[in-house]
């Protein structure tokens, strides 16, 4: 019993230490270059929490990060590195907007689920390609998903220019397809926070139930821990590879649909793959694959993302420095092995001392 709670405590301590170390390292960097880290962090935190608008924007960002984070996490649980979250998000975005633009007059209760469904479906298909190739031909899912990222990017731009719009931006989707709700917008002083936030909470709960209380979820975890043993135990590795990638893509596609229907309300040609897909990887790692952990780490990332914009203009830290500080925090988040090692050392030392004392 004691042991279980001990490791649970560790699981909470590791991410918290990572975050603190990241902030400390960022502060040292800023000091080194002659900027005041306290004003910088104050600008960042007060900028976000001092105004309902920017808090709303941070939560909106967190909404999408929750989906990309969960999407990455489930593939990672099964032992795959799905770096194509960004492309799957884009696939979901374009298909949701496409459906929403095609049937603008359907009632909201039909159109919203239909558009979201399209996003989920195409996100799933996009990731499913990589899963299928991996299962039947043993191709590396890392390479395939990276390639599919670019395919998604350029296909999306082509679809916008040649099918959905004349220029670089599609029309706005109709009210009936929008995820924005008046009271949420009013509550956050006009931010783009939308129903997606609540969908995210529901999905977090569903994800937790799926992974801990359902056979399919157990199989995915088992295949990730030891594919040979789970094959021996009668589980189909092929089926689980594809299933985990499909769910991963579906979650990313859902994020894309909500990004399109909630954040922007339209689709425009992309300069590069959306950063939010890659940041989802960091979110999943910080959350240690735990859905609730992912939810809170995506909120942290949302705050960092929106708050970083205040560092240049309110604390005189240049934009580049702000990016470096954020990257440092992400680095320490990812390097949590180091922190785990230190924590273990400290606790064993204590144990030895305690024994000696008695």
């Amino acid at each position: 019993m004691l042991k279980v709670s001990r490791s649970k405590l560790d699981n909470l301590l590791v991410p918290i230490f990572s975050i603190i170390l990241g902030f400390v390292f960022g502060a040292i960097l800023m000091l080194f270059f002659g900027y005041n880290p306290i004003t910088a962090y104050e600008a960042m935190i007060m900028g976000v929490f001092g105004s309902p608008y920017f808090l709303g924007e941070a939560l909106r960002q967190a909404t999408i990060l929750t989906f990309t984070g969960l999407g990455f996490a489930i593939a990672f649980k099964a032992g795959f590195f799905n770096i194509g979250v960004s492309g799957q998000l884009l696939a979901g975005w374009v298909s949701a907007i496409w459906v929403a633009l095609a049937f603008p007059d359907l009632p909201r209760l039909v159109l919203v689920p239909l558009s979201i469904g399209a996003g989920v479906l195409f996100g799933a298909i996009w990731a499913g390609i990589a899963g299928f190739l991996r299962a039947y031909f043993g191709t590396s899912e890392v390479i395939v998903t990276i390639m599919l990222n670019f395919t998604a990017l350029h296909t999306t731009n082509y679809i916008i220019r040649n099918i959905l719009a004349v220029g670089n931006t599609t029309e706005r989707i109709s009210e009936n397809a929008s995820l924005r709700v008046g009271w949420l917008t009013d509550l956050t002083a006009g931010s783009r926070l939308n129903m997606g936030f609540f969908i995210a909470i529901v999905v977090v709960i569903l994800y937790w139930i799926f992974m801990t209380h359902m056979t399919a979820g157990f199989e995915i975890r088992a295949v990730g821990l030891n594919p040979f043993a789970s094959t021996y135990a009668g589980m189909s590795a092929k089926k689980n590879i594809i299933l985990s990638m499909v769910i991963s893509g579906a979650l990313a596609g859902l994020g894309g649909a909500i990004h399109g229907m909630g954040t922007f309300g339209n689709l425009f040609t992309q300069n590069a793959l959306p950063n939010i897909g890659f940041n989802g990887i960091a979110v999943a790692l910080l959350g240690l694959g735990n859905p609730i952990g992912i939810f809170f780490s995506s909120i942290l990332f949302g705050v960092l993302d929106v708050g970083a914009g205040f560092m240049p203009n309110r604390a005189g830290v240049p934009d580049e420095m702000a990016s470096i500080v954020i990257a440092a925090i992400i680095f320490f988040v990812g390097a949590n092995y180091l922190i785990r090692l230190v924590l273990n050392k400290v606790s064993t030392n204590k144990a030895v001392q305690n024994e000696g004392g008695e």
Binding site: E57, N157, N271, P312, G316, I326, I330
Partner: protein, 382 residues
């Protein structure tokens, strides 16, 4: 068991490197206008004023002219303020305006910029600028049109500007450029300079704005010599120098000796590629044509300079003019101010052109201004 854990944790660590690499795709560049933190702090108000139009209480630092009670800000597109091209020329214009009006020219002193790393940043950046209280907030680039329109509609008492696009709203001034006229002159220059009979055009993101450059350039080349081939390619980016370098490499390999880019920070890769080729083979003759601001300094290499010329786009100037006009006669809201060769809003530098090429350019410039020569604006008709 422990080894598996160890390995997966190591993988996590490794992925952190990967993520750090994925974070910023900044084109790289050392000469960012870094501000002095000490002076930056003194004059930026911390946003407590909300969106009232009160300005920074400027504490003049040794300037003898009194600073005006007027401040302007810009929101960059994804290229960033140090793209050595479009955004940078806007920022340089703002700095010039600031110095002319008694400010120090430092960021945060009467002028400010808000850098966008992603299209999702546009609206929050506009709102941050709004909270900081500026008289006019400019969106730099057509990518910001939707965002500017949204925020402007929510804040009818705040003045906005949009560059390269036309907004219908009464509190937005639209600043557009007849870029095809300048690009036409660049085409004339290229046609008179090329020795291989092949030139290249690299666009940023395909769309009406960059299409003007492409149309003007190809028309200018054809105006001189129909047989010269123009290789047109798009980078689908305004920020990725790597793609620019890759496309330029392909064009030079295929025999083009002049490449014109209209792609913001992507162009930095074009200059890099030309420099690499010239340094490995100093006898070859390659040229790059710059865009939006005089990019002559980007073309310096050991054997001279390979920037043939640059098309100029007076983004900075248009900002200065509209800010001045607002202070003197009121805000030109809802208007579209178009700048062409005639208004000196666009132009072409002398650069390293031969006498013959320059004479041809001058002649074409005059015929365009006189209306004898009509430059097509778009390749498609809608």
């Amino acid at each position: 068991m422990t080894t598996i854990k160890l390995r997966s944790l190591l993988a996590l660590g490794a992925s952190a490197f990967l993520l750090a690499a994925c974070q910023g795709e900044d084109a790289g560049g050392g000469d960012t206008p870094v501000e002095d933190p000490a002076t930056g702090d003194t004059s930026t108000d911390t946003g407590d004023t909300g969106d009232t139009d009160t300005d920074e209480d400027t504490t003049d630092e040794g300037d003898d002219t009194e600073a005006v009670d007027f401040s302007i800000a810009m929101i960059t597109d994804e290229g960033g303020v140090d793209d050595r091209s479009f955004n940078q020329s806007a920022w340089e214009g703002m700095q010039e305006w600031a110095v002319d009006n008694g400010y120090s020219g430092e960021r945060g002193d009467g002028i400010n910029y808000y850098q966008s790393n992603d299209s999702a940043d546009f609206v929050p950046n506009l709102n941050a600028a709004l909270a900081d209280g500026h008289d006019i907030i400019y969106g730099i680039g057509f990518l910001l049109l939707d965002s500017v329109n949204d925020v402007a509609a929510q804040n009818p008492d705040q003045w906005f500007g949009i560059v390269d696009e036309i907004s219908e709203l009464d509190n937005v001034v639209s600043l557009t450029f007849r870029d095809h006229e300048a690009a036409f002159l660049a085409g004339v220059a290229a046609a008179h300079t090329t020795e291989t009979g092949q030139v290249g055009f690299i666009g940023g993101i395909a769309g009406p704005v960059i299409d003007r450059f492409e149309t003007g350039f190809t028309a200018g080349v054809a105006h001189v010599d129909e047989s010269i081939e123009v290789d047109v390619q798009y980078a689908e980016s305004f920020s990725d120098a790597g793609i620019g370098q890759q496309i330029a490499a392909g064009m030079f390999t295929n025999g083009a000796d002049i490449v014109y880019h209209a792609a913001g920070a992507v162009g930095n890769g074009v200059f890099t590629e030309a420099r690499n080729r010239l340094e490995s083979d100093p006898d070859s003759q390659l040229w790059v044509i710059g865009v939006d601001r005089d990019q002559e300094e980007e073309g310096n290499w050991d054997g001279g300079n390979f920037t043939l010329t640059s098309t100029l786009k007076g983004v900075g100037k248009s900002i200065i003019l509209s800010a001045d006009q607002t202070m003197e006669e009121g805000f030109p809201g809802g208007k579209n101010i178009a700048y062409g060769l005639e208004e000196d809003g666009v132009g072409l530098t002398r650069g390293n052109m031969s006498e013959e090429a320059w004479a041809a350019v001058e002649e074409a410039r005059q015929s365009i201004i006189d209306g004898e020569l009509e430059v097509p604006e778009f390749t498609y008709s809608n």
